[in-house]
Subunit: 388 residues, 4 copies
């Protein structure tokens, strides 16, 4: 009989929504499920917010005291959906309490935090995962499959971008994402880490980076209310302003341990780009291209195709591809953000069921923090910086 | 306080999965929700299948007796996710029992069935809806908004396609979708009706059609097991075969009551097309293009743009567009099949909450059946056939 | 030694430009050339216009008397670049004078004219060609190659469009293209014939059609000056107006002699579409898609590709594809309108050199006129109309 | 009366073809033309090759002695279409002889050569141009127009790529393009300089670079015959091999004098990319994207578009855009490589007619060499290198 596991979710914002949906939907998609996640307790800042989150997200109970919750004996899994500044504290407490942990990305604000978190989960022997969901996109997993099967040969080059525009307007509010003490860094931690995770997944460890980091908008209107607005909503040209002390954009060259070279660019100021995560990988036998804004599709080119029929194939993922059995019966029905989170949830509970660390786990998350740290250092020194 | 409503879902296949997910997720997305759907009972063919569906889809109870279930006083909503041949019987019983009804598309196998169903819900005074989910895609709703606001002017021309390839292989199994007694028709009922629904939504009533219908593969291997495989899975060149007595493809010209002309094409035999629902609409002030395989995007061209900057805009839907408040915080995070069903669920319960019929309701579904009927008649006569 | 052939070009408008360029460029591209076209005489309406055309297009002589020119013994080739209303007269005279003829499309205003033209060239034993240049696009020729080699199997379905927007503005001038006495028909002759030619080339003879034809703008401002403006330039809302007596749009279903079905749409009123010639062909073993606005590319899908790597390939044409030896050294350098005309010129002189009729010749052009005639008839009767 | 100018073209390979076509076609397209180029003498390595080039390209005379030709008093223009190693010698001689000069790109193998060439043309007072044709693409010129008119605001970021795959196969021959003594450098000089030219044109001077350069294939089969094959044609796994002493790929970060940052990547080893020149520019009021493989189109996004209709517009260039009067009467007829070269020819002779240096002239070409030199230096030092 499939085991029911009690989840305590800390944080009821946009990420809470995504995770709660995944808990409900995962067994519907992947059946028999590795476990049935039970939405046991949701935690938010106040009792009122927590209770509303309970009703909205279908949890059994609510609380504003995460410490008490993570120590409850009936909790199996702690899910950290908070801003970055409390990831470490919660994760360490949860680990000490022996809970399995899924933590939103980036793992931490700094390498030091990430290291302590990793030490804690390792010591506790729990299952741990960082929620870099984009590698759960079936098309990305298909790219991984092609690469592992050698179908594009040895990788020469990786190019990754993550371009958004929600902070391009200088009058959009000073979200916590612009504050170092909460976020740790700006585009580096928020979005470049996704690209780093994808690069690690598909190509292998990054060894060195050489980066430019820049802040285009140095002051922003103070945000009214506690909820993160992602910029667009409440512009206020004449409001009181606070300082942005993180980066808006990072451009970097990469060297991989395996010999490949590459580049990475992440910005939240690229008008017209929304969630433009792109990958292009050139190998000795073919190439791969992916654009998350068209995430049902993977572009792949095999060099040994006949001369008169060579070109990128647009493969729509479906039952014949990774995670295909659990998703929709034909390609093109549609992979959305929901599906990436449902797959993530499946992989997390599968890891628990098999008692085998998933990827990316906290060790991978730490490795990504090391790259983020190297990016920021290189942005300051202008030199190649080794990772770790 | 948001009302909890008990749902009885009849049918636990692919559509059951989509609906169950939507019941769980809808309040998470659209909050405050118009109602909290409670997954009360799921019905499937056998007790064993029903119990498995219960566990998988998170229902409280299960049953193999839909008649008993639809007559239970604690049921508020009946959701019909079965093959087409039992839509009428269930819907009529549910209407008589005073339940609100959401029925998968197409509404019925024939105009006659649809008419009786419509009479039943009208007599019962319940809320009724047909699950043509593609018009719930935010980009399609955005097209509707542009049209209603006059931004592309008077509509001259509509072109719609629905191209798939899951039945292109002549050795793929004889699903119920190839059998007239169960499905009513082939590509006409299964997929062309989606295009008709979109045409009705965006342009208005179709007045006349002139069609070709054709069946490419007249015999197919008998299917093993009860579950509909949508072709790909179990090919069997040497299996015993049964007759296909429905159409594989329909091509039609259209005349709308409002004066526009157009065309429609639907086929399940177009290699390389997966769920290729496309719309192109030309108006006196602009044009619209949509391709469901890239469903986050709407293409729109405004004729009064400056001469040196005219062209289709690729608009990624997000918070600034229909249903944007309930979905994801920035465009491009991703609309999948799940999101279309969550929106559909929201619109259905909103209609119940407001006690106002949603669209498409059974009257719209009947209208679509009338067009389907005209398509099939025209395919036989080779003449323009009036709708209804 | 490559033979030099003297060309007399009748008409110095947009088409004259394209042809003159091709005469100069063809041997540069295809070398050794089948012949060296010598720009001997250009003819235009007045002596002044003709002399200017001579200087502009690099001809040796000019004239305003086409009759005299086509009868000159030193002329080998007559090139008809005039409006449609004088195609027949010039072609018949040129045939009688024993000249090889290339005639712009459509061949004639009516089937009757086309038939007499065809009789004339047949009687004269000269080489004859109709300038349907779009089938000269390398990507279209590649589609032909795939089809002939059986790589997409038996053709089930053809869908062709030709969408433009230069006449969408009701204040754009009354070009000769809107006048039946000069043009013969509207979108049918002007652009639908291109699609018909492509359908004949790729699929085979069309047997029957069933069409809607419509005229959206029934009066237009009289045009000032003799040159055809293709709408955009000189709009005049308050000018004196004349009647449009041809169709703006045609939508049709098609039945091919070989059993395939299909559709065709041509309009000059589709805002946002410029020269949007698209083809989609579904076969029993694969599919082809082409969009002339991205003419370097052919999309092809092979059904027997491995299940995890199936999808349309985007093939950029180059040296490995038809006409590749004569064009550019790598794919993607770029096929423009010029290159289609250079290839056309090459095929025409190759036919002369080999003394073998090219395709499309006047017989093919007549066949296309028969389809155009059936389209117009069907637009009037609302019935399936047989071709010829 | 339009002046006829005598052209001596040195080099009869692929570039000779493109230039000869442009000389013939330019006045046909841009009329009245700034001058009528007369194809007077073509020079190639041997008398036989030169005579064949004469017949093929429509020149009046041929020669194998470029020194004699550039000193002929009847020559007005010298056109250098040779490999890079003789650009300097010919250009300097032509300048001394007082000829106007158009030179293929890159201007020279080294900064030193470029500087001497620039000094020579400056001293001679002749008109000089470097044939970076891609900025002549109408869509690129339209991007320039938007930027100059401030329509995308201040430029924050530039990303340029030039990806090809013709040298990806390690068995493709050792073209002169792989030999430093002839080519000067590899991907840097051959293709990255095009991106540098585009960056200079659109954004302004590059101040500093930080690059990786790499050579993937260090030995290649010796090439048989004198003609450059661009890799694809004659593979020979077992042939005698020679050393590649230039770079296959360059990846770089950029800092512009005006404050923008950016990146550049050029490779000839990216399977599936043919002539993939892409630009993306983010400004404070909008963004621009261009892909030369779809060169009829410019993508532009204006941040001040209404919230519900924001997105990249796909603008097909035509009469309403730069060079539109000279090219084709409606957008989408098609810009190919030919058209870029015809526009280049027009700009060159316009400069002569106006006695005003065109852009890019040898000073611009020198500036580009300085960037190329900095790229190579940085590839060696791993440090930010200042330009010049």
């Amino acid at each position: 009989m499939t085991k029911v596991m009690n989840v305590a979710m800390i944080g009821g914002g946009f990420m809470g929504k995504a995770h709660a949906m995944a808990y409900a939907a995962m067994p519907m998609f992947f059946w028999p499920a590795p476990a049935i996640p039970h939405r046991k307790v949701v935690v938010d800042v106040t009792d009122g917010m927590a209770d509303e989150a309970r009703r909205r997200y279908g949890f059994e109970e609510s609380s504003s005291d995460w410490r008490a919750v993570v120590n409850r004996p009936d909790i199996d899994v702690v899910d950290i959906c908070t801003p970055n500044n409390v990831h470490a504290e919660i994760a360490i407490a949860a680990a000490k309490a022996g809970k399995h942990i899924i933590c939103e990305k980036p793992l931490a604000r700094t390498v030091e935090e990430a290291r302590v978190m990793h030490d804690a989960v390792k010591a506790a022997g729990v299952i741990h995962m960082v929620a870099f969901n984009y590698r759960r996109t079936p098309a990305v997993a298909l790219a991984k499959k092609y690469i592992e099967e050698g179908r594009i040969g040895r990788i020469l080059n990786f190019r990754g971008t993550y371009l958004q525009d929600w902070s391009a307007d200088p009058d959009s509010p000073l979200s916590w994402r612009f504050q170092k003490k909460i976020a740790g860094s700006g585009s580096v931690g928020d979005i470049a880490t996704h690209v780093v995770d994808l690069a690690h997944y598909l190509v292998g460890p990054i060894a060195e980076v050489n980066a430019i980091t820049t802040t285009y908008n140095k002051m922003r209107p103070l945000q009214q209310g506690g909820v993160d607005k992602l910029g667009a909503a409440e512009k206020a040209a004449d409001a009181e302003r606070g300082e942005v002390d993180v980066d808006d954009e990072v451009v970097s060259m990469l060297k991989f341990e395996g010999g490949a070279i590459g580049s990475l660019e992440a910005t939240r100021n690229a008008y017209g780009r929304n969630n433009f995560i792109t990958l292009e990988i050139h190998g000795t036998k073919g190439s791969i291209h992916f654009n998350y804004e068209r995430r049902d599709e993977l572009q792949v080119m095999f060099a040994d195709d006949p001369a008169d029929a060579r070109g990128f194939r647009t493969v729509y993922t479906g039952p014949a591809h990774p995670y295909g059995n659990g998703l929709w019966p034909i390609p093109g029905l549609g992979i959305g953000y929901s599906e990436t989170k449902i797959v993530e949830c499946y992989d997390f509970f599968s890891a628990i069921a098999k008692n085998r660390q998933p990827s990316p786990n906290f060790e991978d998350g730490l490795r990504t923090e090391l790259v983020a740290d190297a990016l920021i250092r290189s942005g300051e020194t202008g030199l190649w910086e080794k990772v770790g």
